[in-house]
Subunit: 361 residues, 2 copies
């Protein structure tokens, strides 16, 4: 029963630890076929919960805005709901999406491709609230604290992340209390969560209870020890921030239950999917039906918001045989997805090209 913990270790044999399977059962990916929906149905939205989902009592719940502010605020959910609300479609992605495609692979939540979804979030913009609280000139960052408590890297902690003042004051940042027109579900942060468009999902703190203005960059576990583009154990690496360019495909045809290998009838098929690049628009999506040797351009659909993914589609005349379909996106800043894995120690931001093998009969 007692075996050495594999937390923080790397493996390369393509097999997985029990703890990883437990995490995969808790932290669900979206189903790739749900990429057919411009807005992911709520129950199909991917989920990453570090600790446990807390039970919240909305009647007694409060948000404190505190620290280096001239007017500390304590707000009930009703206080927040009485302010002018906005609704925005936002694509969120877990920073670890693509980790399980790496060799060696960091042992933790084992994502393949599926940790991305888009929802319509309703709430109040954060900036006016911070202006009302009056940030002190000495304030460098805002620290966001969730009610979810647990242990990671040996440290007992509430889940906490920070943003610089400029990042927190960005127009897109929301305190959201609805998702797809309904109150947040418990696992998505009920009653209130931060939503930071364009950033990987770790930034959008769920079950938000406190926003603290502080003078120094926050040194919490989730800032300093996790979510880093580290190349090795002695390299702190750059912090993970904005979502990198990526496209995914709805796997065509029908799946094998166990392997998810795809089988398809010959003839014309519309390949489709979604592409996104954080706060940068999508310039181009290309599809290959020969494993990346040749590429054709897909047609793009208009995204619902500057923060949501872009639909793409492309006709393919499927001929009998085995094919490796690929899709790659290029963003408006000129970044293109690589064919090879983007390896970092913690498996962050690996946006390599999505490949789908299909057998046409």
């Amino acid at each position: 029963m007692t075996k050495p913990s594999m937390a923080g270790k790397h493996v390369e044999d393509g097999r997985y630890e029990q703890e990883e399977v437990q995490l995969a059962g808790r932290n669900r990916g979206t189903l790739l076929e749900s990429l057919a929906y411009p807005i992911t149905p709520t129950g199909m939205h991917y989920l990453l919960v570090h600790f446990d989902v807390p039970m919240a009592e909305p009647e007694t719940w409060q948000l404190a805005i505190t620290g280096l502010v001239s007017t500390p605020l304590t707000l009930s959910l009703d206080d927040l709901r009485q302010r002018p609300a906005v609704t925005t479609a936002v694509t969120l992605e877990c920073a670890g999406n693509g980790r399980s495609l790496l060799h060696p692979r960091y042992v933790t939540q084992p994502w393949f491709h599926e940790a991305v979804s888009t929802a319509r979030w309703t709430g109040i913009p954060l900036a006016p609230l911070l202006r009302e609280a009056g940030l002190d000139d000495t304030c460098a960052e805002l620290v966001f604290t969730g009610r979810d408590e647990g242990i990671q890297g040996g440290e007992v902690q509430f889940y906490q992340r920070s943003l610089s003042v400029a990042e927190a004051m960005d127009d897109g940042v929301l305190l959201a209390y609805e998702m797809n027109g309904e109150p947040l579900q418990p696992q998505h942060g009920f009653p209130l969560r931060l939503v930071v468009p364009g950033w990987y999902g770790m930034t959008s703190v769920k079950w938000l209870t406190k926003i603290e203005a502080v003078a120094e960059p926050f040194q919490g576990y989730q800032m300093v020890s996790s979510y880093r583009y580290s190349k090795g154990p002695d390299d702190p690496g750059e912090p993970v921030s904005h979502i990198r360019v990526r496209a995914l495909m709805v796997p065509p045809g029908i799946p094998d239950f166990f392997s998810r290998a795809r089988r398809l009838q010959p003839g014309l098929v519309t390949l489709q999917g979604r592409a996104w690049a954080g706060r940068v628009g999508i310039a181009r999506v290309e599809v290959s039906v020969d494993g990346g040797s040749t590429w054709r351009e897909a047609e793009l659909e208009a995204p619902e918001s500057p923060y949501s993914w872009t639909g793409w589609h492309c006709a393919w005349n499927a001929e009998p045989g085995t094919h490796t379909l690929c899709v790659r996106a290029t963003d408006c800043a000129g970044n293109q997805q690589p064919m090879e894995p983007f390896w970092t120690r913690q498996g962050m931001g690996n946006n390599m090209v999505h490949r789908v093998g299909v057998q046409v009969e």
Copy 2:
């Protein structure tokens, strides 16, 4: 890249295949902390989808009742919604729940404890509809077909399961179009699914398109090759049917992110959870705080319906040290959960006692 498939194989080294992790990311368990809710929030309900979630168009969707009937019926969703509806709380559980606690372990969807949830399902009872169609005297079974198509065990198939006439005519059997007061979400069977209370979840066919009355027991893959209490490769085994008695506990304290090991402050804590036994009531729930050496009786709450789980709770004065908490249920037919695994080849119905290790500081 090409390695021999592990489908249908057994492993005993406690490690997992990539395909199992892929399945775990698709087929999510409920979060054990959600056992605190008498009705599982929709987005936290466990999910087992054999193939892909189909996109359904509710306007053109039809249910056919066909085969050995005097009046074949073709019903739109509106036709069904105009009939008198009922709402019932039903606990559903995957037959493979507990599979990953077995040694050796069948390589497939790797459930630990978490493939169980309770929802309020709204729909129309099936029996009156079958009476209206007029089952022929030669009818032995009803075959239920979903729109989800794929490959399993080498066979291309729509997902199909059957019930005997008596089982299908049971008062509790519903054609459900709402879950927790909302239209079904796509992954739970939109627009219509079968709900068969008391049976393991494989019976409650999602994306239901056809009910066919047939004269012989249906020999489809999901009846004959899967969902069997088989003891070995040459033993067909008894078919899996009603849900076996089981109880689970909300893990107390706070978790370690990776291992899910629990840490707790000393003092009085209320242990709580749910117990269920298919169509049989729960007679008794017992809790042990010493790994099963001694047991105390938990208090039971009234279940919402004859088909839903029973809440239980029990006070515990947690003293410093390491403890193995256990919970076991006994049903009204006298069946009690075993301390040891219930091993079958496919890992079906393993209702061994739930153990939760906690460290009290």
